[in-house]
């Protein structure tokens, strides 16, 4: 009967699958190729100066649809590297228990501070294990592979002018400007010489200053005060 023939056919199909290699990837011994844009857990990064990139603007907290981010903005104080006043975040808590992995926080960050990673979050045994504190987030920067997606990359990709005629013309112009830039670099080389000359002068000035300083120190002693006062007018 038809049942037997079709049963035999189904069974032949199953047997053919037995002879194929299984498609199982035995995680965590083997890892899957996820691609560079994978969004799995989060990291906070440092900027190009080596300082925390997060300025505590709270954009990520405002945009999160699940309200899992809590940022405590710190006082605006001068940066330790550039000296300019900037914002800081005193505390940053991301509750992975409720995160929906939508990448909106990454999209809106003005300083590319929060990024997602290509490595899975380490599983835990309690709810607290899944709450990413600031330490864990900064640790993830070095302990995990960061994903491709940053705010600036995403915004560039989503730019309405990208790939349009306008954009292409602008790109050509930029490309056409390259030889012009090279020429501009040559005249820039001239200022380099004066710069070098300035630099050449500067060491002298620098040398002169220690001379002044050195001259100033012995000036403390009464004996050298007369020499110092004589040395100062000479340096001038």
């Amino acid at each position: 009967m038809g049942y037997f023939i079709d049963a035999a056919r189904s069974m032949a199909r199953s047997m053919r699958t037995v002879l194929r290699k299984p498609t199982t990837i035995q995680y965590p011994a083997e890892k899957r190729d996820q691609g560079p844009r994978a969004r799995l857990t989060f990291a906070l990064v440092h900027d190009e100066h080596g300082e925390e990139a997060c300025v505590g603007c709270l954009m990520c907290e405002k945009i999160c649809p699940s309200r899992v981010i809590t940022v405590t903005a710190g006082d605006k104080r001068p940066s330790e590297v550039t000296g300019k006043k900037r914002g800081f975040a005193d505390d940053f808590v991301l509750d992975m228990n409720a995160c929906i992995y939508c990448e909106l926080c990454v999209q809106v960050c003005p300083t590319d501070a929060i990024v997602m990673t290509q490595d899975h979050m380490v599983p835990g045994f309690s709810r607290e294990d899944l709450v990413l504190t600031m330490d864990k987030l900064y640790a993830n920067e070095t302990e995990t592979t960061l994903s491709w997606g940053r705010a600036s990359n995403l915004l560039e990709m989503q730019d309405p002018k990208r790939g349009t005629e306008e954009d292409r013309a602008a790109t050509k112009q930029r490309a056409g400007a390259k030889p012009a830039e090279a020429e501009a670099a040559k005249p820039a080389a001239k200022p380099v010489k004066p710069a070098k000359a300035a630099k050449a002068e500067a060491p002298e000035a620098v040398v002169a200053e220690p001379a002044k300083v050195e001259a100033a120190e012995p000036a403390k002693t009464e004996a050298a005060q007369a020499e110092a006062s004589e040395a100062k007018p000479e340096a001038k």
Partner: protein, 330 residues
């Protein structure tokens, strides 16, 4: 020891040994089924517990043992508690008459085939009482379906089991195997159709896909075993595999020549094991490839197709046996 009758002693020792072997085979049959099913579905089966997952059955048993033993409040306690062990008991009792090697059986009953078929019929009872006693509508439905299926498919099973009896002229299973050793395996000849019908009926009796309506997970949660937890559920589970193995053993003895070897190689228990396991492999293969029948289609298959066919087969084999010597023998 002298007070015990030799037959009883023989039964105890051989019975104990065969039951132990059979239960071990069941446990590792579960492992084999899971690995094979995995491969059919393009995945690995159990791999972590022991080398290639060989200790998985022990892990399963340990898991089931440590579960909470729930007995529903409104359940019929006696029947509820008695059903799981009874299924295992009746299944194991069937093996008593099957010769595992030349003249080696727990009990060489002259009515061996009747014993097997009678116990096959009895096996429906604990399944049904489990469904009734669970005080659960899903279980009740499963039990009813099991009864309908079980008693219907007994008829083709009995009739197709008669074919070896007619050919060998005896209901003693050992005699049947001996006849096959002297002549030819029954499956290679007129017994082929009888073998197929017997195989299909055994699948139905064992509630295996494509006839697993009584335990259809997608429809009845877990069918008859819905309210059972822990080792009681484990007993049902084990009974199902045990029944499959026993049915394979019976089919090998009746149709495939039992302990008789091929190509003149030595007879013995290894052949019996090989054939039983080969049939178990086939049953597993069928299970993981096909979808299930609906109850009425199942009944239709039995009553409209299998019963007339097996009746016809009985008549044909009787005529064959009668007229064969006159036609110059085979």
């Amino acid at each position: 020891m002298n007070a015990i009758h030799p037959i009883v002693l023989h039964g105890l020792i051989y019975g104990g040994a065969i039951a132990t072997v059979l239960l071990t085979l069941t446990a590792w049959g579960i492992w084999f089924e899971r690995k094979f099913a995995g491969r059919m579905q393009s995945r690995l089966g159990p791999t972590l517990v022991g080398w290639v997952g060989l200790l998985q059955p022990l892990a399963d048993a340990a898991k089931l043992l440590q579960k909470e033993d729930l007995i529903p409040d409104q359940a019929d306690r006696t029947l509820y508690l008695a059903s799981p062990p009874l299924t295992v008991f009746f299944t194991l009792a069937t093996v008593a008459v099957i010769p595992v090697s030349v003249d080696v059986a727990v009990a060489n009953l002259p009515i061996g085939v009747l014993w097997i078929l009678a116990l096959g019929g009895l096996m429906v009872f604990p399944v049904w009482t489990a469904g009734w006693a669970s005080a659960n509508k899903y279980a009740l439905l499963g039990g009813m379906r099991a009864v309908a299926q079980g008693i219907s498919y007994e008829i083709p099973m009995v009739l197709s089991a008669l074919v070896p009896v007619i050919f060998a002229g005896s209901m003693d299973v050992n005699e049947i195997v001996t006849w096959q050793a002297e002549h030819h395996w029954l499956v290679l000849g007129p017994g082929l159709f009888a073998f197929v019908i017997f195989f299909v009926s055994s699948l139905a009796e064992a509630n295996r896909i494509p006839f697993d309506i009584p335990e259809a997970e997608s429809e009845l949660v877990a069918g008859v075993t819905t309210e059972y937890s822990g080792m009681r559920f484990g007993l049902f589970y084990m009974a199902e595999y045990l029944h499959t193995l026993v049915a394979s053993a019976v089919a090998s003895a009746l149709f495939l020549g039992g302990w008789n070897g091929l190509f003149g190689l030595a007879d013995g228990i290894h052949w019996m094991l090989a054939k039983t396991l080969a049939l178990f492999f086939m049953i597993t293969w069928v299970r993981w490839s096909l979808v299930r029948f609906r109850s009425d289609q199942l009944m239709r298959l039995c009553w409209i197709y299998l019963v007339p066919m097996s009746l016809a087969l009985v008549m044909v084999s009787a005529l064959w046996v009668y007229y064969e010597p006159m036609l110059g023998g085979h």
